[in-house]
Subunit: 489 residues, 4 copies
């Protein structure tokens, strides 16, 4: 990832400003995870690349705007695969989902206002595709006092906003939090994070900013067990791959108008957010891939412990699989039910996408619980790698770590640490906490499910069958779900 080096970013890690973040051992695993997205394009080009109408050539799927149902579905497949390969967050979905959502919203703004955002945005995407770049989507603001909107805060900087206009561009101030993998990106697409009112016009802004803009400051978020990466590989559990979350401070960042995709059209903020989450909540099928790893680790440690034939062990592995496939099935269904937007690109089914994400806020926690169950108490009481490798105490520790015949104690340690990593350690951030809050917390999905539940139609079904007065005999001609099959050419 040579393109990440030498950019002189202002990056803070554990209280220190680092010269070259890409070489920081706490950050390297996150780069490795993202790098797998590039590697997959080489090892499985059918899955990770696609022909783009925008550039007329084959591009990385993460940089692609969906042109068909198949494109939407292939994203789900690619995401599960990368979850399997990294066991963590590979950080490239936000940007993919941001360019897909922005593609439609810019089209709609232009239709309403006669602006020219859509062409600008297509140019930006073409640039990204041509150079095979990584885009980060910068949506979540610090929010300050949550009972008040952006323009009603005591401190107006609690949401990113336009503070100035000069030299054919705008100037942004504020911060974005929970920014996944931003250091590993080349561009950030700034977006508003919620519905805005007419008083919030200065906050209705979307624009592309180069990650190495000197007015940006990055502070790495702590993750559970983050400093184990400084110690060695075994105790990390998954030494090669990890996630990355940063806080980004925008200290009056200037952006030329040519990279601005929304500027004051506050009434389209909700449109952008809703389209983004339709894609992004379904993107959490990646957790089915990460779940494949954890279910595999649970199956492996059960076998190593010599108890894999116990009926309760088998049952817990079946349960884990059932839950994991529920994530996949609902996300896959959302993709399969994709429909074209006014702009011509394809968008997943919003209801099913929210059903998928809502499961993701619960089921990984249960799969993690079952994995800790199958791992046994050692997952939380095992001595350190340094103890095992110590000349004096190591040999006796290894003697007592022996379990089922043929299992090397070191392999057993490694699988135990992997379970720890995914259920309590560094990648528990990606598998659990991010599953909870990424793309919106559980309450956000319930709001959408409530909105799309078609209760009026359902009540009509019930009234008709109960024989209530004033009942339609053929209710619900407007029933929209189940979605129609994908259109064919």
């Amino acid at each position: 990832m040579s393109s990440l080096r030498g950019r002189g970013l202002s990056v803070w890690v554990l209280g220190e400003k680092v010269q070259e973040f890409a070489d920081h051992p706490v950050i390297t695993p996150s780069i490795n995870a993202m790098a797998e997205t590039y590697r997959l394009a080489e090892t499985d080009p059918e899955l990770a690349t696609v022909h783009s109408k925008l550039t007329g050539s084959r591009v990385h799927r993460f940089a692609h705007v969906c042109e068909s149902v198949e494109d939407v579905v292939a994203q789900s497949r690619m995401q599960r695969r990368l979850g399997q390969l990294t066991g963590t967050c590979f950080q490239r979905c936000v940007g993919m989902d941001a360019i897909n959502a922005g593609y439609t919203t810019t089209f709609r703004i232009d239709s309403a206002h006669g602006t020219a955002y859509h062409d600008r945005f297509k140019e930006f995407i073409a640039h990204v595709q041509s150079y095979n770049l990584v885009v980060g989507g910068a949506m979540t603001d610090p929010k300050g006092d949550r009972s008040r909107g952006p323009s009603a805060q005591d401190d107006p900087d609690m949401f990113v906003r336009i503070v100035d206009r000069r030299d054919g561009g705008i100037v942004l101030r504020g911060a974005k939090t929970h920014q996944t993998g931003s250091l590993n990106a080349h561009w950030l697409v700034v977006m508003p994070g919620q519905r805005l009112s007419d008083k919030d016009a200065a906050y209705a802004v979307s624009a592309a900013v180069p990650v190495d803009d000197p007015k940006l400051t990055y502070v790495l978020g702590r993750q559970s067990c983050d400093t184990r990466s400084l110690e060695g590989d075994v105790d990390v559990g998954n030494a090669r791959y990890g996630g990355q979350e940063v806080t980004i401070v925008f200290d009056d960042v200037w952006i030329p108008d040519s990279r601005v995709f929304m500027d004051g059209e506050y009434e389209f903020a909700a449109d952008l957010v809703e389209r983004f989450t339709a894609y992004h909540r379904r993107s959490y099928v990646c957790k089915a891939g990460v779940g494949d790893v954890l279910v595999g680790a649970a199956a492996e440690i059960a076998a190593m412990n010599g108890v894999d034939r116990a009926s309760h062990v088998k049952d817990k592995l079946v349960e884990s699989t059932f839950l994991n496939e529920t994530i996949f099935g609902t996300g896959f269904a959302a993709s399969m039910a994709a429909k074209p937007t006014p702009a011509g690109n394809y968008e997943p089914d919003t209801l099913l996408a929210n059903v998928c994400k809502h499961h993701v806020t619960k089921l990984p926690y249960e799969i993690a619980r079952l994995a800790q169950d199958l791992a046994g108490g050692l997952v939380a009481t095992m001595p350190s790698d340094a103890d095992f490798e110590n000349d004096q105490v190591g040999p006796v520790l290894k003697k007592y770590l022996k379990a089922a015949p043929g299992v090397h104690p070191d392999d057993r340690r490694r699988i135990l640490r992997l379970v720890e990593n995914m259920t309590m350690g560094r990648n528990a951030v990606g598998y659990l906490a991010e599953s909870m809050h990424g793309a919106g917390s559980p309450a956000a999905q319930r709001v959408v499910i409530n909105k799309l539940a078609q209760f009026a139609e359902k009540r009509a079904f019930a009234r008709r069958l109960a024989g209530c007065s004033a009942c339609p005999q053929s209710p619900s001609s407007t029933w929209t779900s189940p979605p129609p099959p994908p259109p064919r050419n």
Copy 2:
């Protein structure tokens, strides 16, 4: 449904042999439910009919062998729709799934044995399509002592078997239980219900039998509150529609060889069962349609009670919707991931089909529980319709049944009875007990999930990330899920 009358079937209902079952008030609702499948073909031909290669003309979708992914998906959409329209089991899925499964298995038997079952079966299907007939699938045997297989039973009749061969045909004896809607069918397709061994060759039989064969006896199963249909309409809850389950006794039924589709090829019994359940476990998306009715009834009664703005009420409706869409989403995904079989027809994804059905064994019970919660105690304590309509006591009862302004007490009664009907009454059989056991009980799905979980691949993912010895760097080239996108022409 004139075609159901005058057939002289030997039908027992509540201890009496009935002359014309179609006129029996306990049975009529089940006929109405099935009749909706015909009505839908008129009101929404796009959904309920399809062009068939076998006959070259447009046929009912329930009689169709899937020729594409779209065909498989359209089944799911049609099933949900009919669930919405009937609020119960419309009894036509078993036959549909049986002809789809048999289509493939007969092809495979012929390939292995040089037999001619496939052409016979296609002829049978063409007949069914041409006359728009209803097929019942007769699979479940009484089973006797479940610790022993068919040929090891004390009484060899515990599974349907060939007891004789004469006049160019075979003679079947035994019984089939839990037969959904058989009285409303024109043909029964007999199938074995489980994996068989070489000792069970006489039990490895599949054949088509006309429902009005004089050697068949039918006994109607009781359903909760079945006799309310004899009383009037209000207290039934859903007076128009109901399900139907019968026990069928085969008292030496002769079948010509031309309608026999398996005869002794015991090693293909499991193939037939597994293919059938791949279709049928996903067919339970119909319960998402029935769930739409119950969620609608819950929303309606909450509004009638005047509490629909309470946050806990809204939350329970959202939860019900979330659960209901989980059924739909996983079943829909199974259909969307359909793949062609060796015979050229299309078959749903088996793993996702089992995930769907496994949810169906749980989630309707929770939706029913939430509906009882929202209904309030009246769902179980309300006086009878006869009391409400009585001149003396009726008026005061109606006075005290008033709730939110503008709600007619009679409508409120009807919705309450509908909730009772679906959670404790007659259609609780279809919505709950059948959801539990139809297409296989929960344990059966867990066996399949275990088989398809690809634990070896998952363990390899985990070993690679943990850095265990002897780990592949690119595991799981054989990983088969997520399924590839449907092939395009």
Copy 3:
């Protein structure tokens, strides 16, 4: 139960006024269930009787005011036992809990207002004890438009109220719904059902009314499968025992002041309701006894089916037991943590009582689901008893109902019908719907749990451990839970 006969009550059943309700076959099972409470006093006097300070003699425990922690605990034990013996609601808890709650509230009203309710109430209880009578507690009003309180309704009768005062007494008008077992009682204790304001003074009334007051009209509530009691015994499932719910209309019932226990002291309405529910929500440990029956039925049918050694079967029985004991354990804990009231009697722990009842709104549904799972599909498809007993078709049905060796088909039928009875039939009302709504619906418990959760203390614990500013070093001297051990003499 001769004392129930010849009272000339005005009782409506299924649209007809019955002369002697006690002989009505739909009602008889509910009388049998209540009669078990008397029988238990003979067979296990230690459990069902107790020495009363009020009368100085041994009285029925259901008529007793708790004088110690042991008394409160013994109620729980008696309730579970009667659940085991009847498999349904035995209808005597409401009255028991009403006299215990009223004992305290009358004392408190007198303390505040100088009234004489407490002595009157003690006299009433002594009368009940002396004659070993059954008391029904009449609390729930029809409520009308639930967004408005009693005095704000369009129709002022939507809550029972005082409409007149004459002849040294008060006159009550209105109705009470969901009245459990009132026909089998001798006295009704009228109580308000919710917190009242000063405008609701006419509704703040508690008084004892004889069940055979001529101004009372009773209408029996329908229950699932209620009319099976008219058919015979097998298909009922539990032919001997059932519950009873009635609507009672108060058509200007005159009550002498000597039997009035609250008259306008609206500010004590909530006190009475809260004390009553503290007892009554914990009284639902009876469902652990009913659950013992259903878990037993599930274990029995699994054995009859010959699958009781399957690991998933054993696991489901363990799970059912675990859930059932959770109901018992939390209710038992509430009783064990009883504390004396200002009036000197003993009252259960309110928080734990609500935890118990809240489990009761969920866990019986899951136990019922598991029982249907273990029962197999026959629970919903088995022919009627009349079919099995029919000379023509019966023998072949019995042939095919054979299962594990040594199991009589008739016994198997009976157990299957018992499972139907408890999960979909008549006693599903008692085991499920009543578990949901009796003593308050789930939302009501959550209100109480919220109120008693001591969040301020919990937040102080957290702030102290996190090292927040302004934190007490020894927080929560006011922490009241876990309750202290019961005081000893």
Copy 4:
């Protein structure tokens, strides 16, 4: 805790042998947690001390053998309290439960074999009481190949065993794993960990060993985020308190016969284990106290975020409380239902103790999930304390951490770190993984529940009500649950 210093233990921490473990910053928090048990004896002597018959004086409750139901109950209250005060495992329950269980088992062995273990054991306890010492219970062996028993292992040391007898004592070899707080103890009571056969006589050994025996080696287990204790206090989340788990190697430890409490009586190994777990599974009510902290942290962070009035937030706090009180209620019930043993001490109800522990393997995970939900994404993405305290980047980070008015950003950080600590960090070991495996993994509780479920009695209840043949009319005179009220003096 001066008594812990200067003992010259051989302790390994993170690969290094430490001179004075008590000063090691990773270990100090565990000492603080244990020290709270001493402090409580001073601040609340009623709760944490008790009069002992053995010594005739007031002793620490953790060193006490229960002489009454009140004693058993007071343990539960003390445990919850200490959970509230430390937010983690205070490590003193194992020893308490070991001396209570051993008290009975030694009595029973003596009765059977004429040995003198009981008096020895009482002397040992009196010593512990007199000097107010901490006892660790050493039960869990490495177990090696779990498909084989102790004497059938390839390496006979996989379970602690007697390898020699000399100088009036025995010599032990082997290891004990998952040893909670052993470094902070003065004595270890070695016990077998499972049912043994006659071939395992050498493994049937119980004895007291001083923690500072020179033949013992201790290796500290790693915990998630353990090294944050080396960094400072804020990011630890709970800087003062933590748990401690060690592996102990017995390298031929000599023990005089006077401290041996079982020596070859293999048939009593199960008795000791079962009695120990009856106490210890109920001792997990401590997690209700830890849960009080986490629920408090969730309530606090919700308030700090300014969203505490949202209905879903309140509902999640109610749900957390409901679950937390379920742990407490079932454990408290187990203690309340305590019964005397043959030795005269009091023992909790085994069934309810297992119900409690089984909930503990699940509910803390759900409470933790809800806490992460309420905490918001910052719980996993917040920069380090060093960043916040850095002169350059700290001020801007603090600016953007502001939330609800009046909340200091530093306090908000601390609460977020506490939630991280308890759900993913160091005390997630105590609150989650230890809840899963301590006192036996979930499968172990299910074995006990199955054994005590009284299925035969339950089946008799069902058969009687269903009217099956050969049914007792008054079943279950042997029904033992609900337990009788505690005996009174």
